[in-house]
């Protein structure tokens, strides 16, 4: 251990340590660094006063500015809500048919509705609303519960088979799993259901067996799907005589539907979308479909 001495080159003192002849300078911290250190400490004291910082027991200092992120986001939200009011009022107060006849309103629906649809509906119904296996197309004129504006609006609000108190409820029974019909009966029924939309596809033998299937249909299916298989909108039972199928119209898919049943779910949107948004979406969906002549 040597004594601190003055270094002849820099004019600064050494620490007094020496390792094999190597000595260490004790260079003081440069003044600019000291200055910035002092400034940041002063700044932090200032921020302690302005913003929420110091905890003490069950509470903390709130700062003189009274800044709270929750208040900020609420202010921002009410500001954007006020901006939306300009068109929301029009869409909630005006009759749907009137809006559909209003070109200005419908131009707005096509641009804003597309965004709403993409964010909320397209996951199931597809970007072009044409549906997919298990998820109905919204672009045709076939509807489970009805395609008029009020019905679609209600379906959006309460959903189908959801936990909403007023949900629409529809279930295709599992005729096989619940032991209501045996496999021979289900086969006859499958053939009959195919005959409703595509009688040409059946073999001669199958056509001969149709009366059996028809009787089964009248006993088991017609209360929901109607005597002619045309579907009943009030109970959400689909039309079986057209070529629109949610779960597939081939023999295999129909047999699976008959055996295991179907409980399709349409989520409800009352919690997630405002009344105006739901009306906008209703108009958007109706606008996608075939136009009334």
């Amino acid at each position: 251990m040597s004594k601190p001495e003055r270094d002849p080159y820099t004019g600064l003192m050494t620490t007094g340590h020496e390792w094999n002849g190597i000595k260490e300078l004790m260079t003081p911290v440069p003044r600019p660094v000291k200055f910035f250190l002092a400034t940041t400490i002063l700044l932090s004291v200032l921020l302690w006063i302005l913003y929420p910082t110091w905890p003490y027991g069950p509470n903390y200092t709130k700062g003189v500015l009274g800044v709270d992120q929750r208040t900020i986001v609420e202010e921002n939200l009410s500001r954007s809500a006020a901006l939306r009011m300009v068109w929301e009022e029009k869409f909630t107060a005006t009759d749907m048919s009137e809006l559909e006849a209003d070109d200005g309103a419908m131009t707005f629906v096509r641009s804003h509705g597309a965004r709403l649809f993409e964010d909320n509906c397209s996951a199931c119904h597809g970007l072009d609303a044409s549906g997919g296996p298990g998820f109905p197309s919204l672009t045709d004129d076939q509807w489970l519960w009805g395609g008029d504006a009020d019905t679609i609006l209600e379906t959006l609000r309460v959903g189908i088979n959801t936990s909403h108190d007023e949900t629409r409820y529809a279930e295709m029974l599992a005729f096989g799993d619940q032991g209501i019909l045996d496999s021979t009966e289900r086969r006859a029924l499958t053939t009959y259901v195919i005959s409703l939309s595509r009688p040409d596809e059946l073999t001669e033998q199958q056509t001969e067996g149709l009366p059996v299937g028809q009787e089964l249909f009248l006993d088991n299916c017609s209360s929901c799907h109607g005597d002619d298989g045309g579907g009943i909108l009030d109970v959400g039972a689909p039309n079986l005589t057209d070529d629109f199928w949610i779960y597939g119209g081939d023999a295999e898919s129909i047999a699976a539907t008959l055996r295991h049943g179907r409980i399709g779910v349409m989520p409800y949107w009352e919690d997630r979308l405002s009344e105006a948004d739901r009306r906008l979406l209703t108009l958007y969906i109706r606008d996608l479909g075939p136009k009334p002549q």
Partner: protein, 245 residues
């Protein structure tokens, strides 16, 4: 004072303690008060626990690393609240051990995912995301539908969670494995027992579409459908502050 460091540097033990003291200030100031400040975790009455099937689903969520791409935390920012719903409250992850807030969003935030889509959609989406969302970059998790759920140790999971403060009863822990069956098999005896233990509002469904088998898909979908639905408090708070919108 600036010269005093020479003294400290010559005393190794004192130096170690000085380092520990200084380094712990940050932790003490940031973390310790969370346990003493009253308003850190909101007090709500309707907060419910995860059912055993949902806990199993949560474990799969962790196993598959879902948290690496999906957050479960809606921040107090306007765009997040408008897109996902009311911002997250601390109480909503009160029973999350560990919490899965995440910090990266390759996919969307999932904090309010529950009941947004149908079970069928979740199953189709997990088997192959591109079947329902053509532009998705999410990997496929088709094996969840094939793997039977390993549920025989669910009682141990629940017991461990109780040790860190989740209020499971002895009965819940004892019947944990049985309750995973009950929740995924509607109209069965185990389902009734399950509902009695966890309340009539619990979801009892064949989440994967097949009531005959209990799969990992059942568990994960059951978990995804409860996200953001353990309590209503965030929604209530949001409707109070915006005047009922």
């Amino acid at each position: 004072m600036l010269d005093k460091h020479a003294k400290l540097e010559r005393n190794a033990i004192a130096f170690v303690f000085a380092i520990i003291f200084v380094a712990s200030i940050g932790g003490i100031v940031e973390i310790a008060p969370l346990f003493t400040i009253d308003e850190t975790v909101e007090e709500v009455e309707d907060m419910r626990v995860y059912t055993p099937l949902e806990v199993a689903g949560r474990n799969i969520y962790i196993r598959e690393g879902c948290y690496a791409c999906h957050s479960q935390m809606i921040r107090t920012l306007q765009d997040e609240v408008e897109r996902y719903g009311p911002y997250s409250l601390a109480v909503e992850s009160q029973y999350d051990h560990p919490m899965l807030w995440g910090s990266k969003r390759t996919g969307p935030d999932l904090a309010r995912l529950g009941e947004k889509y149908s079970d069928d959609w979740h199953v189709a989406h997990l088997i192959n995301p591109r079947d329902v969302v053509p532009s998705s970059v999410m990997p496929s998790y088709a094996w969840l539908q094939r793997n039977s759920l390993k549920n025989e140790d669910m009682d141990l999971h629940l017991a461990a969670l109780r040790k860190v403060g989740v209020p499971y009863t002895d009965e819940m822990i004892e019947n944990a494995a049985q309750d995973t069956y009950g929740q995924a098999r509607p109209d069965s005896e185990p389902a009734d027992a399950f509902l009695e233990r966890y309340g009539e509002d619990s979801n009892v469904r064949a989440f994967d579409g097949d009531p005959g088998r209990l799969t990992e898909m059942d568990a994960l979908v059951a978990y995804l459908q409860i996200l953001g639905r353990l309590t209503d408090v965030a929604h209530q708070q949001a409707s109070n502050s915006t005047g009922g919108e």
